[in-house]
């Protein structure tokens, strides 16, 4: 047992921090710190800066740009990226679709997709949720019917983050309706420029446009875009969810938010309010604990599959981001009332949000953390069943 970071780990942290502070443009870090939505071009620029140093896809196979870094080091990297207000590498690319293609894709798919995915030259969004398939994802209905050398895709996806910015979408589609609902699902890569795709924005309560509905109307997708075998999409999706968990707890992000709360409350004298200070202190303590929980899950992760304790990170990490967003909002005081944002603003206007409006927007946005990627209720189901061994009624 060695509860301290090794010299090597500490040096690694210092190297990462030095690189980020030297290479990431100040304007990007300022925007991230202020929690303003970034223009697409800035996100691409940021990921390419990370990728140059091997920071975008260290968990990938070495042949495709991965690094031989321990899970603890990768957790340190993720923490430093967040903590130093740098944009994280796009999760849909580096944490979700990339590892699936690397593990199950054809040689041709690997050559075609992996480098552009790592460098964000190709932007992927995720087509999993549907209006009737949220927590019960396997109930998805979007169909893909083989038609010569292509699949004919019909249906609808929803809550598709950045579909309006993306070049491609990776989808779970139903290729067979005969067996159990988990069977007959396939994993398909679809070029969003294909005719028959319509993307409609969903405005969210944070005033911004990040999520969309994506409609497929007789969309012809080359059969060569099927990843792995037909009908095994559910397995690949489970594999995907077990990928890079080193930043699941979002500890660097929460740290940045809570530090900002303490700084703002210090400037205004709010920190002298013992009730406010007490809540901030408690959040900081929970975060310190979560940092260690994150390291424990990471260091003890099984070679294959998902450590169900990852669900603890998801639950606690999301709750902490929400708590921190609430405290950050409270630093505005009565000004929060007038920190509104134009609910119909175009994205260009939104990128110019003032600091107060961005804080308010972040507060509303933070509700998503306990909903997306498997709601906290689903995470509790996982803990109850997989860790505590509690079963369903016979």
């Amino acid at each position: 047992m060695d509860l301290q970071f090794t010299g090597d780990e500490t040096r690694f942290r210092a190297d990462v921090r030095a690189y980020l502070l030297a290479e990431m443009p100040e304007r990007i870090r300022e925007a991230v710190y202020a929690e303003k939505p970034l223009p697409r071009a800035w996100m691409v620029e940021a990921q390419q800066i990370l990728n140059r140093a091997g920071y975008a896809v260290p968990h990938w196979p070495i042949a495709h740009g991965g690094r031989d870094w321990s899970a603890v080091k990768r957790a340190i990297l993720a923490e430093e990226i967040d903590r130093n207000a740098c944009p994280k590498p796009l999760a849909f690319n580096v944490a979700l679709v990339g590892p699936v293609i690397a593990a199950f894709g054809s040689e041709e798919q690997k050559q075609r997709f992996l480098d552009p995915i790592a460098n964000l030259d190709m932007w992927f969004c995720q087509g999993f949720s549907e209006p009737g398939a949220g927590s019960d994802l396997a109930a998805l209905k979007t169909s893909a019917v083989r038609d010569g050398d292509a699949y004919r895709v019909n249906g609808q996806k929803i809550w598709t983050t950045y579909a309006h910015e993306a070049d491609w979408i990776f989808c779970l589609v139903r290729t067979d309706t005969s067996g159990r609902k988990q069977q007959g699902i396939s994993f398909l890569l679809i070029d969003l420029a294909t005719p028959g795709i319509e993307i409609r924005p969903i405005r969210t309560i944070d005033g911004y446009h990040h999520v969309n509905e994506v409609f497929f109307d007789d969309v012809l997708v080359p059969a060569g875009n099927l990843v792995g075998e037909e009908g095994r999409g559910w397995d690949y999706a489970k594999y995907l969810l077990g990928q890079e968990r080193t930043s699941m707890g979002n500890v660097g992000f929460s740290r940045r938010r809570l530090d900002r709360v303490r700084a703002r409350a210090g400037e205004t004298g709010q920190i002298m309010d013992p009730a406010f200070r007490r809540r901030l202190t408690l959040a900081e303590i929970e975060l310190k604990a979560l940092e260690l929980t994150q390291m424990r899950v990471v260091a003890g992760a099984p070679e294959r599959g998902v450590d169900p304790k990852t669900s603890i990170l998801k639950i606690k990490g999301g709750e902490l981001l929400q708590t921190a967003a609430g405290l950050l909002l409270e630093t505005l005081g009565p000004v929060a009332l007038t920190a509104g944002f134009p609910v119909t603003a175009r994205d260009a206007e939104f990128h110019g949000l003032d600091d107060h409006s961005a804080i308010l927007s972040a507060y509303f946005s933070s509700r998503k953390y306990s909903i997306f990627g498997g709601s906290n209720e689903i995470q509790r189901n996982i803990l109850a069943k997989a860790v505590l061994g509690l079963g369903s009624a016979k």
């Binding site: 303490r262 900081e284 303590i285 310190k288 929980t293 390291m295 509790r380 109850a384 505590l388 509690l390």
Partner: protein, 356 residues
């Protein structure tokens, strides 16, 4: 960073676990149990660097918590023993390590809550040395102790005195604790102590006491984590066997989610305990903030996990012969020992928060 146990730690944790489980189901003769602690090397453990160290003590105290052990290990070894070691009281320490004597640190006084460093108990110079007067309360394991360590105000600041239990003028008023252990209130009525009974560590009394108390706080966190872990296991076991409406109640999602939240709280408490243990070698200010923050979170987890466990057991949780209630009682004792949540959070607040 590496959370794996060494071979030696594994072996020791296993042996300690077996011993404590045996004690929990045995005849509970305190003298026999204490001899077992000595024979396994546990009385030397806090004072030897090789096998000891805070990480190993963490394992011992977890096992202690899991089995609701009762021996005065925290009090006599980790608290009083540590103070003796840091104060250079070699002779008394040797007797304690040999298992011949047990010692207790008397920290609290009526009305002063957890403020041990501003005692109303006074020591004045007399013809034969020092004359000690005052009262101490809630001294865990005091009924079985042979030696008492007593902080008292002196003309030159905070002093620390070593008094044998049979010193004239020293009276014990035993009180049972709700978790099956024993404590006592003590009164000192012009107790005369020879000059060498005042302990003078090189570091100063306050520094010595703070270091020992911080170590004991980290140990108590480990004990709570061990107790909570076992209590959750008892609870999930109960949820699996208790049937109502024709099914095991553990199949109800409302109850599953409550159990899952207990697990989350325990894992966070365990992490914070590890953090506290990892900070025991840090500078005094950082160390004290770290252990205070840790016990604050572990205390909150203990209250939550304890009361949820009772609720999930239904009426059985209230039956004193069923173990769940006993774990809740132990957790409640530990929650109030060495600082309650508000006191500890206040300490963290005053230090400007937990260092990132």
């Amino acid at each position: 960073m590496n959370f794996d146990l060494s071979e030696e730690q594994k072996l020791l944790a296993e042996a300690v676990g077996e011993l404590f489980e045996a004690h929990a189901t045995g005849t509970r003769d305190p003298a026999v149990e204490w001899r077992d602690y000595r024979d396994l090397g546990l009385l030397d453990l806090p004072f030897t660097a090789e096998l000891g160290g805070p990480e190993t003590l963490m394992l011992v105290m977890e096992a202690y918590g899991r089995t609701l052990a009762r021996a005065p290990y925290l009090q006599s070894m980790l608290l009083a023993g540590r103070v003796l070691a840091l104060s250079g009281a070699g002779e008394a320490l040797a007797a304690v390590r040999a298992g011949d004597r047990q010692a207790a640190l008397c920290l609290y006084e009526p009305g002063l809550r957890y403020r041990w460093d501003a005692p109303a108990t006074v020591a004045v110079r007399g013809d034969a040395g020092w004359v000690l007067s005052g009262r101490k309360v809630a001294v865990l394991d005091a009924p079985g102790a042979d030696l008492f360590l007593v902080p008292a105000a002196t003309p030159d600041g905070l002093g620390l005195f070593l008094a044998a239990a049979d010193t004239p003028g020293l009276a014990r008023h035993p009180r049972p604790t709700p978790d099956g252990r024993h404590a006592a209130d003590l009164s000192f009525d012009a107790v005369v102590l020879s000059p060498e009974r005042r302990l003078q560590g090189a570091a100063g009394t306050r520094t010595v006491l703070a270091e020992a108390i911080d170590g004991a706080i980290a140990a108590s966190c480990s004990e709570m984590v061990g107790a909570m872990e076992r209590l959750l296991a008892l609870t999930t076991e109960y949820l699996g066997v208790r049937t109502q409406f024709g099914v095991a109640i553990g199949s109800f999602q409302a109850l599953q989610h409550r159990a899952a939240d207990m697990l989350v709280a325990i894992e966070q408490a365990r992490s914070m305990t590890i953090y506290a243990v990892s900070m025991l070698g840090a500078r005094a200010e950082e160390r004290s903030v770290a252990v205070a923050a840790a016990k604050a979170l572990v205390n909150r987890a203990a209250r939550f996990v304890g009361s949820e466990a009772i609720q999930l057991h239904g009426g059985m949780g209230l039956a004193s012969e069923y173990p769940a209630g006993r774990y809740f009682q132990r957790l409640t004792v530990l929650e109030t020992l060495l600082g309650d949540t508000d006191f500890l959070l206040d300490q963290v607040d005053q230090a400007g928060g937990v260092p990132a």
